[in-house]
């Protein structure tokens, strides 16, 4: 049987298998079709129906199961839902076990969360450092960007901290 205990490792192996089978377009399709629309349909339904409250409920439940010892913080600020991962349980599992099957494991989160949020009417701002740390900002599509705010300061400080440690940063933003 394929188990859930080491899911992150065979999930990473599967990314590599799909990419070898059909290239990166197939992997992007996999995250959208299989993960967002099928596996994570409960998240999609909750967030489409309840917006930021749905995000609180979804990540409250899923992170408490995946990371019972913590390693993350979520909050609502300025009408936005924010997540800071300080020790991602998923990427952390791979780092601790020295697993590296696919080219960039961290991309899978944006691969399913990105289309889910856009279809639910939210913009996404996300940066990850490949070392188990990342931030997420979800704000309503119709909200006006505010260049100077505590949220922007928080994101800038995290990017600077990770940059000083010479981690490779990947950024995705709407």
């Amino acid at each position: 049987m394929l188990g859930c205990y080491d899911f992150c490792a065979h999930y990473d192996w599967t990314f590599d298998w799909i990419e070898r089978e059909g290239g990166s377009p197939d992997l992007i399709e996999f995250w959208d079709a299989a993960i967002y629309r099928d596996s994570q349909q409960h998240a999609a339904q909750l967030i489409a129906a309840k917006g930021i409250d749905g995000m609180s409920k979804y990540w409250g439940q899923t992170l408490s199961e995946e990371a019972p010892d913590g390693g993350y913080e979520t909050r609502i600020e300025d009408g936005r839902f924010l997540i800071e991962m300080t020790d991602c349980p998923s990427r952390g599992f791979l780092l601790r076990n020295q697993v590296e099957f696919s080219k960039d494991y961290c991309d899978h989160c944006m691969g399913w969360i990105g289309p889910m949020m856009r279809e639910a009417g939210f913009k996404v701002d996300h940066t990850h450092n490949h070392q188990g740390q990342c931030y997420w900002e979800f704000r309503p599509d119709n909200s006006k960007p505010r260049a100077i705010s505590s949220v922007e300061k928080w994101k800038k400080e995290l990017r600077e901290k990770w940059g000083k440690a010479s981690f490779q940063l990947d950024h995705f933003g709407d």
Partner: protein
Amino acid sequence: MKSRLPYSDTKPEGAADFYFGINATFRFIINKYGRSAWIRYLREMGRGYFAPVNEQWAREGLPGVAAYWKEFFDAEPGANVSVIESENEVIVEVHQCPAIAHLRSGDRKIINSFCQHCYYLNNARAEEAGLSMMVEGGAGSCTHRYGPANALKQEMSDIKEVE
């Protein structure tokens, strides 16, 4: 004692919602590439991803297989499994399959051939270790048998489809 599982986590059990991901991955591969590609995916995973465990099984034989499955199911939430060892066989009695139970409680559409994945995946692993295996039952409870090479032959009709 060193864990017999290929990888270890800081928590004692996995997160059950990952079973949703496994079922969805199977559906995607079957829909996108076809059933024969899904079987190839499982066999390649059995030989490649599980190589460290296969080597352990090859070294330790059936006692290693029994010890592995006990530890494996201890880390799967909702599993109710007995592992019975005899001189020439290991029988894994799955009284409650944790994956099927969680998929059903989550009201998920389970792929009909879900239970066949245990055969294609684990038979590839057993072959790598110089053993054979077969599955009987399915759709929530089943029996896996492990024995010496060529001792066990699978009839696919012995594996139930998930309704």
